[in-house]
């Protein structure tokens, strides 16, 4: 027996050694994107290619990556980001193809998990053709991936990340075209206090950078302004919310604020109503998905949520985008898809101006330089100009109300009314 085991061990060791020796040989990189629907088949350039751009002129492949959850509970929003960016590259990529470059999209699936995002980031930076990145959906995932992007000077333009830490942590390469949670939490709190006229609140969050962050800002403002905070709980529970709801029922708050994503909020709101809890619900932009209505049904009809991204119908310039999206992907454009389109537009503009300055295919560092001097970019969801931190100088915040109409949730969701629209400068 022992002999067999040790023989096996030796064999395993030999195998490991062989594998280790084999690694540096130029085999095709196995770092293919997770969903290869629109992905290029194995990159053609060798991984060890020098970073210097070809001085010959405007030729070569330029790739723009996306990272968002394409599978898992948050795929509804993540796929929207991928599709929005894809549409953006198709329609706006002419600037680059006109110069002589070939453009490609490299979509990656971060599964809404920080560790997956960070692993993907390593793959992304090892492909030297990727000059810009559109992503992520989840702030926690973006924060896990940013160190890798920074080390490679890769520009990240986020269509959805609202946690202040994204731009406050000193990453020179982090940009976003949406507002911030410190402001969003304050907007929600002000709305709850002045419009819903609540006196007490029970706050639940999902323990992620995003959810806990925005809930924390809501709490700070509520305490400052005299709203009674009856509880502040974090949970990773996905399905049975009994032991969270029992104390809420006893505390009897006027409002339940949930900092997190719709996949968790929907069953919780539903179970709360089933138990006879009558408190109003409020939450941040993580709730902005038709899935919330699909799962929670009547429980969420008429509830309010704050967002940094209004439905596509709210942007007059995005009408054509909504049509094109419907035509190409056979579904209504989900939240953040139009923002992804604009993030892609920002990327393309920065790469194009870097290419002009470099008179050839730019490096990532040159794209980053161009990004800093970009000026105002007029997209379909607004005009964006970045401050030194990477925040838009001014961003829009919305308070929306879930429509009470009957019908297919995906369609009803686009009828959600904007109750309030605010333009607030980044702090």
């Amino acid at each position: 027996m022992m002999k067999r085991v040790s023989a096996f061990l030796i064999f395993a060791l030999l195998g490991a050694l062989l594998a280790a020796c084999g690694a540096p040989t130029p085999t095709a990189p196995t770092t293919a994107p997770a969903t290869p629907t629109t992905a290029p088949a194995a990159p053609t350039t060798a991984p060890a290619a020098p970073t210097t751009p070809p001085a010959a002129g405007m030729t070569g492949v330029i790739k723009i990556a996306t990272q968002s959850p394409l599978s898992g509970p948050q795929a509804a929003l993540g796929v929207g980001i991928r599709n929005g960016a894809e549409l953006g590259l198709e329609q706006l990529g002419k600037t680059l193809t006109g110069m002589g470059f070939t453009v490609e999209l490299a979509p990656f699936d971060d599964q809404a998990k920080p560790e997956v995002g960070s692993a993907n980031a390593k793959n992304i930076v090892s492909d030297n053709d990727i000059l810009c990145l559109v992503g992520h959906l989840n702030s926690g995932v973006a924060l896990a991936s940013l160190p890798d992007y920074q080390a490679a000077s890769l520009v990240m333009v986020s269509p959805a990340n609202t946690n202040p830490k994204i731009t406050e942590s000193g990453y020179p390469n982090a940009f976003r075209i949406v507002g911030r949670d410190d402001v969003q939490g304050a907007v929600g709190e002000e709305f709850a206090r002045t419009e819903l006229k609540i006196n007490s609140v029970y706050i639940i969050h999902d323990k992620t950078d995003y959810g806990q962050g925005v809930a924390e800002f809501f709490r700070q403002n509520a305490e400052k302004n005299g709203i009674k905070v009856l509880g502040f709980e974090g949970t990773e529970e996905q399905s049975v919310f009994d032991s969270i709801l029992t104390p809420i029922q006893a505390a009897n708050p006027d409002l339940i604020y949930f900092g997190g994503i719709y996949s968790q909020a929907a069953p919780m709101f539903k179970q709360a109503r089933d138990r006879g809890i009558k408190a109003a619900f409020l939450g941040p932009d993580g709730l902005d998905s038709p899935e919330l209505l699909k799962v929670a049904g009547d429980a969420v009809k008429g509830m309010y949520y704050t967002s940094v991204a209004a439905p596509v119908s709210q942007f007059p310039d995005a009408a054509k985008f909504a049509e094109d999206y419907q035509a190409k992907y056979k579904e209504a454009a989900p939240p953040f898809s139009a923002q992804a389109y604009d993030a892609m537009g920002v990327c393309i503009r920065a790469i194009a101006s870097a290419a002009e300055a470099a008179k050839g295919k730019p490096t990532r560092a040159q794209v980053l330089e161009a990004m800093k001097k970009l000026g105002a970019y007029k997209g379909i969801t607004g005009t964006y100009e970045f401050n030194a931190k990477g925040d838009p100088v001014k961003s829009a915040y919305f308070v929306l109300q879930v429509s009470s109409e009957a019908g297919d949730p995906a369609e009803v969701w686009n009828k959600n009314a904007v109750v309030k629209r605010l333009e607030i400068a980044a702090p």
């Binding site: 599978s71 898992g72 509970p73 795929a75 639940i204 323990k207 509880g231 502040f232 709980e233 974090g234 949970t235 990773e236 529970e237 996905q238 399905s239 049975v240 009994d242 032991s243 969270i244 029992t246 104390p247 029922q249 006893a250 009897n252 996949s263 929907a266 069953p267 539903k270 179970q271 089933d274 138990r275 006879g276 899935e291 699909k294 799962v295």
Partner: protein, 393 residues
């Protein structure tokens, strides 16, 4: 020899007196009931004592009254949670009893059961029968379907992934089980996403009625809050109890049960006595899987939304419950589940009340519950009912 053994056991069956029949089938139920009452009394008493001791430390609310007000609801939550863990734990403990092997894919068998129910309800909904069907008929049909699918799945998993490794070192089938668990999760994900059910699949049911309000607890400002148990949770508990009775009958009274116990005690000898060991093991998986599938259906019915990863955490907790109760022991699995469910519900509901919101109950429930669990296992290493090995399956 084989013939003699068979007739011997048949004689035993016919001679069994009514009293011993009752005690073998319903005795474990009494034990479970005692543990439900015991856990409720002990934990309830503990929190009330703690509240009385800490009463002076908070001025804003009356801690003692707050504690007592939610106590009945917490007990009910704990019981429902406990029965969930208990029904899943039965599958772990059955398989462990026979093979001394932890079937880590059992959580996924449970998840597949839940999805079977979701498919069933979606099919009924699309044919318009969901609202017209009688709720009881729906529950029975869904549970039976879930049991069939999960049972056969568990049996095929055993045939494909465990039987070829039966004589391998003990870690090998364990790894195989973890692999099966990952495969099942992602296969179900592919199926769910591509059939229109969606990743977050809805489990629709006919109208099962409003929650049953058991009492109204008065609270400080003249309000009352209801103590309620919803109809789905009641169905869960009733079916779980029926399953325990059925399982006890099967294992303690029938010939098949005798064969299962024989294989559990000594596999080579049982085989020499003419018992088809492979068949008995397959049937054990079938039964364990069917129980898991039924639990999955009831779980899905209760929570309304399921996803392919929904089996992982309950599976892990149920495994813990099985160990806590004394793995290999059927009643122990039920008891372990109940105790774990109560611990979690109490910690989750009371921790933040007692720590002035410093520690959020929901997020620290697992830490506290598992610390207590470790303590119990230090003093009773073989689990709560671990010493009663006679009933080992």
């Amino acid at each position: 020899m084989a013939v003699e053994a068979t007739t011997g056991s048949e004689l035993l069956v016919t001679r069994r007196s009514f009293r011993s029949f009752m005690s073998e089938v319903f005795g474990p139920l009494l034990q479970v009931f005692l543990f439900v009452v015991g856990s409720a009394v002990v934990l309830g008493g503990l929190v009330i004592l703690l509240a009385a001791a800490l009463r002076g430390t908070r001025e804003d609310i009356d801690l003692l009254q707050g504690t007592i007000t939610i106590l009945p609801q917490v007990i009910i939550d704990g019981m429902v949670r406990g029965f969930l863990y208990a029904t899943i734990a039965l599958g772990y403990t059955m398989v462990y009893g026979v093979l001394e092997f932890i079937n880590f894919a059992h959580g996924e068998i449970f998840m597949v059961g839940a999805f079977t129910g979701a498919f069933f309800s979606a099919a009924l909904a699309s044919s318009g029968m969901l609202t017209t069907l009688s709720p009881i008929l729906f529950v029975i049909a869904a549970v039976l379907l879930g049991m069939a699918v999960s049972g056969f799945l568990a049996m095929s998993v055993e045939r494909v992934a465990y039987r070829p490794l039966r004589n391998a070192p003990r870690l090998v089938p364990l790894i195989s089980a973890i692999g099966v668990s990952l495969v099942l999760q992602d296969v179900m994900r592919i199926i769910a996403v591509n059939t229109g059910l969606g990743f977050n699949a809805q489990f629709r049911t006919p109208d099962l009625g409003q929650p049953l309000i058991l009492a109204q607890m008065p609270i400080a400002d003249g309000r009352t809050i209801p103590v309620s148990i919803d109809s789905r949770s009641m169905i869960f508990i009733v079916v779980a109890i029926l399953m325990l009775i059925g399982l006890n009958y099967l294992v303690n009274i029938t010939k098949l049960g005798t064969a299962i116990r024989a294989v559990a005690q000594d596999r080579p000898t049982a085989s020499l006595m003419g018992i088809d060991v492979n068949r008995v093991i397959a049937i054990t998986f079938l039964i364990g899987g069917a129980l898991g599938g039924a639990a999955g259906i009831l779980f899905g019915m209760r929570v309304g939304t399921i996803n392919p990863y929904v089996g992982f955490l309950p599976g892990l907790k149920a495994f813990t419950a099985a160990v806590l109760g004394g793995i290999g022991n059927i009643t122990g699995a039920m008891v372990g589940g109940i105790v774990l469910g109560f611990l979690e519900a109490f910690v989750a509901s009371y921790l933040s009340l007692f720590t002035r919101g410093q520690f959020s109950g929901a997020s620290y429930a697992d830490i506290v519950a598992f610390s207590i669990l470790i303590l119990i296992l230090i003093f009773r290493p073989s689990g709560l009912l671990g010493e009663v090995v006679t009933q080992k399956v």
